[in-house]
């Protein structure tokens, strides 16, 4: 890929990732976040996190299936960090708008409310991934160990989806779409590696 193409793509990805955040800031400033702004902020940041996680999880299978798109790997860190950014905003809505910085209430919420336990777990699982996202950290850990550590993303995605299901009303099916997408992206991995192991590598010409 040409350098200029890469730069242009990076700018586009940055803008796309920032769009939900800018939309919220604009909405808050103009009071157009709908009748229940707190709920809009919570829902938007939470759903954006899951969507970005889904995109991050799609990169490896897409590369394997379509080798031409291998360059997508260059965007994975950026997308992953944005997922963490939105997860952190989501966490902060709870800390500020719901719990009002009340530490006791937050502690009891984490223990008592399973949807908050799951959400907290998802954020905590993403934290070391964000912390070890630099080139320096990759070098320091070594590729193999870094790869192992970053498998935590699977657990984070599962916790995120469970968190979503555990706080909707019984029978409400809105989390279904993102669950199916993330479910497929997780299940396709063992399938692909199995297929790869079975198929002998084509001999070099």
């Amino acid at each position: 890929m040409k350098r200029s193409t890469l730069v242009a793509l990076k700018v586009l990805v940055w803008l796309a990732c920032l769009a939900p955040f800018l939309w919220l800031v604009w909405g808050a400033a103009t009071n157009t976040l709908g009748p229940d702004p707190t709920a809009t902020i919570t829902f938007t940041t939470g759903l954006t996190t899951l969507r970005l996680l889904a995109i991050v999880l799609a990169i490896t299978p897409v590369r394997k299936l379509i080798p031409k798109l291998a360059w997508m790997i260059r965007f994975r860190r950026l997308l992953g960090l944005f997922a963490f950014f939105y997860a952190t905003l989501h966490l902060m809505t709870w800390v500020t708008l719901y719990a009002g910085f009340d530490v006791n209430r937050m502690a009891s919420d984490v223990v008592k409310r399973r949807y908050i336990t799951a959400g907290m777990a998802a954020w905590l699982l993403m934290l070391p991934l964000a912390a070890t996202s630099t080139n320096w950290a990759i070098r320091k850990l070594g590729g193999k160990r870094w790869n192992w550590l970053h498998k935590l993303i699977y657990a984070a995605a599962v916790c995120g989806v469970v968190h979503y299901w555990w706080q909707v009303k019984t029978g409400v099916m809105t989390p279904l779409t993102i669950t199916i997408i993330i479910g497929i992206l997780l299940l396709v991995r063992p399938v692909l590696s199995l297929a790869q192991r079975r198929r002998p590598k084509p001999a070099a010409a």
Partner: protein, 328 residues
Amino acid sequence: MLIGNRPSIPSSQITPKDQYLNRRRFLRGTLAGAAAVGAAALGGERLAQIISPRTSVLAGTRLQTVKSPLTTTGEQLTSYEDITHYNNFYEFGVDKSDPAKNAGGLPTRPWTLQVEGLVKSPKTFDIDALMKLRPLEDRVYRHRCVEAWSMVIPWVGYSLSEFIKQCEPLSTAKYVQFISYYDRHVEKWADEVAGIEWPYSEGLRMDEAMNPLTLLTFGIYGQTLPNQNGAPVRIVVPWKYGYKSAKSIVRVRFVKDEPHTTWNDQAPSAYGFYSNVNPNVDTVPWSQATERRIGLPFWQQRRTTLLFNGYGQEVANLYKGMDLRKDY
């Protein structure tokens, strides 16, 4: 807070329509993107008013109303726009904005309310006769959803007890059940929720139904109910979570035993038969200690939830001797 002898606000004096319409949303809704940008640049709202006159936004027929001593005072009313565009009416879709879009097909005339079960003799009331049975009162109530949001709504109606007297229930009737309209051709969104059996059913204990606060409701803001708010007639029980207040009712049944209720069927551990607003009892995943008032900026929304939604003085005696943790 309810103040018994202070005169309440007649509908004619409740915030005029042109003020309760959220202007920003009005601007967004009535102008196409480019025009909106232009209008904003030109100093906005005035231009928007010229381009699109306000009268086009209003629905409903004006109702003749009288004051009520049972109105709640001292709270800012939620806007007509928000009350009519942020609804839980799952027969018309699960998203809060769905009912406003989808409820247009609800056939509110002709409409009858059938009274059956343990009554002297079954009766059928025509909606127009029902609306003339008693003087219609303006009653402002807090409305608290189990999802932890709340509104302040100027309802129009009269005490359900007045209607129940006309029904002549037998002394064996201990509960009253309300059944909502259901037609899967009109309400084709109803199946979006897994597990709910339609029609919607709700119920009250007889003494709860007879409490003067329980309102047989025909309107909001001095006008007939928009479809998405439960037209043409619904129940409003202000000290209970919103789902207890059945919308668009077609049948009232007097029964001996506790009737089945839709959300209780769906998840009995989360939605009890009583479902009184209670900040100390969380049966749903989230906390009920606080609530978000609709229509305010996010930093002003949060407030403390009150036991019985603040109507304890009027209703607490109904639950004397009951363990509210057990009978949630």
